[in-house]
């Protein structure tokens, strides 16, 4: 469905924001993804994704506290909106449907076409 479109990275960001509930801001999201998925995330890629998700209405943000390390700049905390949740659910459902649709035999047999 076109209505809820989430890219792969966008989905990861959404999930992470949900995981970090109330503590999700730029650095924490980046670290969480890097820790869990074992992959590097650039600030640029992350911020672009966050902005896009916020524009789509899947995330909402609020400015929060700051610290000395941040040179007085506020943190921007993100929360998943109801629409965002629906989008995530939709993505999950479609995945599950696809998973369920895979015939058992697909995992057990060799490639049949190789004989051709």
């Amino acid at each position: 469905m076109k209505k809820y479109q989430l890219g792969e990275f966008e989905e990861i960001v959404m999930l992470t924001v949900a995981v970090l509930y109330n503590q999700a801001y730029g650095v924490s999201i980046k670290k969480e993804i890097e820790a869990r998925l074992k992959r590097g995330v650039s600030v640029g890629a992350l911020q672009t994704a966050l902005k896009r998700l916020e524009d789509k209405g899947y995330l909402k943000s609020s400015e929060g506290d700051t610290s000395e390390e941040r040179a007085g700049r506020p943190k921007k905390y993100f929360l998943v909106t109801a629409l965002g949740k629906r989008a995530m659910q939709h993505t999950k459902n479609t995945r599950d449907e696809l998973w369920n649709a895979i015939p058992k035999v697909a995992w057990n047999s060799e490639m049949v076409t190789s004989t051709l």
């Binding site: 801001y25 730029g26 650095v27 980046k30 650039s42 600030v43 640029g44 890629a45 911020q47 672009t48 902005k51 896009r52 400015e63 700051t66 610290s67 000395e68 390390e69 941040r70 040179a71 007085g72 700049r73 506020p74 943190k75 921007k76």
Partner: protein
Amino acid sequence: MEFGNGHIHPMKNTTQPPRLALRFFRWFCHPDLLGPIEGDLMELYHERVEEKGELKANLKFIMDVILLFRPGIIRPSEGYQQINQYGMFKNYLKIGWRNLLRNKGYSIINIGGLSMGITVAILIGLWVKDELNYNTNYKNYNSIAKVYRYNTFANTVETNLFSVTGLGTLLRSEYGDYFKYVAMVKGSDDRRVLQFGENRFTQRGYLMQSDGPAMLELEMVQGSWKGYTGKNTILISSSLADKLFSGEDPLNQVIQMDSKYDLKVVGVYKDLPGNAEFHDATYFAPLELYFGGNMDMNVWNNYNVFIYAQLQPGHTFEGVSENIRDAMLPHVDERTAESNPELFLLPMSDWHLRSDFENGVRVTSSKLQSVWIFSIIGCFVLLLACINFMNLSTARSERRAKEVGIRKSMGSVRSQLVYQFFSESFLVAMISFVVAIVLVQILLPTFNSIADKNIGLPWGSLSFWTAGLGITFITGILAGSYPAVYLSSFNPVKVLKGTFKVGHYVATPRRVLVVVQFCISVMLVAGTGIVYQQMSYGKDRPVGYTREGLISLRLGAYENRGDLKTIRNELQATGMVSEIGEANYQVTSTLGWNDDFKWRDRNEDLSGLNFNTIFVSHGYAEAVGLEFVEGRDFSPEFSTDTEGVIINETAAKNLAVANPVGETIIWNRNGTGYPYTILGVVKDMVKGSPFADTDPSMLFLASWSLEYLYIRINPEVSTYDALPVIKKSLASLLPAVPFDYTFADDDYNAKFKSEERIGVLAAIFSVLAIGISCLGLLGLVSFTAEQRTKEIGIRKVLGASVVQIWQMLSKEFVLLVTLSCGIALPLSYWLMNNWLENYEYRTAISWYVFAFSVGAALFITLITVSFQAIKAGVSSPVKSLKAD
């Protein structure tokens, strides 16, 4: 917004990220995102300094900044709010639409007028396009030319298309390097009787050498033009194939031409479009048939063919013209050489509109002139419609004034109001365009039949839509410009305070526009009147013979012509026919020219005099109705009459002898001089254009039978009764000749086709112009009446009569229209005088055409104005004063 920096917030750790990268980041980052992201960057930086050291942290920081430089993070170039005027435009269109709906009357006038204007513009545009695209159906459009020739005589240069067969042969053999194909075509009208089984028709076609169809690359339905080689082959059009073969397969069938030649059909080509050379060709048959089936194609003294040629790639028309210029000189006789025949090629693109020559110089042809005239008329009619729009918009400006005031005080700048009024005029123009497309679709069949065209709406053509939308756009700009500039200039304070009055300076341009409108309309009406006057002048011209009750029949091949005496006796015996006669050319054609005459017994020099020479039979003069001024007709009683000649008055004038009858002239033909004694002088015959001077003619008596039979129907019986009887007796007398007769007066009237077409189209456009102008006037008057409702009410209460109110409201417009007439009449007199100069036989412009135009303009104005004025006059003052 300014964020604090490190100096204000002292920190534990004093290391700082690279300043340049940070400044760069701050410069490009979207202000909404700057704070939190910079915070993230700082946090990460400090962590990295502690974990990995300053250098690595610096590098990573720079990396991050560079990776942040991407769309979505970078600030927009102009401010950071979303700026487009989409919403505003939507609002303009909505307000415009509501205005249209609220003032239905004005909207109908506006849209009706504009769509009429656009319809006319589209129709004329399609017509002009058709005229300009002549012959573009031929694939080799850019490399085909016709061979023309200049001959220089004592005081004139003649331009001629007729060539000798020797030249075509020479061009092919000696100049083959320049030409891919050379094809000679019989130079005069070719009509033949084609027969297959019982089906027999007289058809128009062309006798053309075999290179012709290859050069033209005819689109074949069946067979191929490649088979068109021998002298017994023929190509026929698909419509003729349908007619002749009615369902049978025409390919390789043998059809008979003039009951004499058996020709094999080698191909059927798709009918050629109306705007193409050879468009009336129902067949292409070998040129040899013209010369009795067999002939030496190397004759240098008989100018009877047209030469078409296609250039080899790499050659230009100018270059080849230069090279072939003197090609004829070595081959022609001394007399022709003296006139210095100079050849040149006229490219296909010039054939239709640019092939008129006068004294060796190309002149604007009448066809090109009509293209111009109609283009200008189209623009004018569109302009009239635009003027309506302008006038109504400004007249109603007071109603829109408050809106302008409010918009301005809400912060609209003037340019936005200009946009608003433009978008309204575009809205109206677009709606009108759609209406116009529908109208064009409905009117095209009628238009085609009047203009003798076969034009369709090119729905799929990109250029058509571009042009259509272009016209709409220009209309929108034209119609919207004045209201946009004027309405947007209102001062909001004055408007909202209520002291605003539409000043006189608006009324003046409006009056000027009305004057322009009626000027154009009156000019069109007067012009149309003069075109018609000239036409009826031509039709009423004494033509020197009697057209009514005269029918002509082409007898075709010599073998089929029968015996004239027998035919005469049989036909006269029916009582339906008073006289018949034969001639080698039609009485309405100017074919057959000869020079080289001299006096036998006199000394006057006749060299350089050209005469239209035709051969006729006994009875021709009486059948056709020639009027003798002096002398007598050929008579069967004198056998010496074959050495006699009848001349017309112009010929007598050119010969410059007081009493020509009885004098003998010698006609030098093929080196032998034949003496002819002048037997009679007849009145001039109008054979060519009815608007041109008459030609000097000579009629010779032929003792053999000739191609055209003229039958004078007994004046005492009706044509209706006579025709079946004549048909029946001819069927037994001339079994091989189909009874495809024409009336001489039809043939004569056909000469007026182009004038008639201009006349009808001009009449339609003038009616439209007047109609559009009156629509505008109607709008203006009703607006004025509405504006002055109170005034009218008060006047009525104080005792004004309906007539007075009517006078008050009508006076201004009648004055304006009178003024326009004053301007239009001299202008149209001058223009139409110029137009009439084109004709040698022309009417004098009579005053009643102008009187009629003025009368019509005033009358229509009065009716239009009175309708509203009287409505305002009779309305009850109680109602109008009670309002508010």
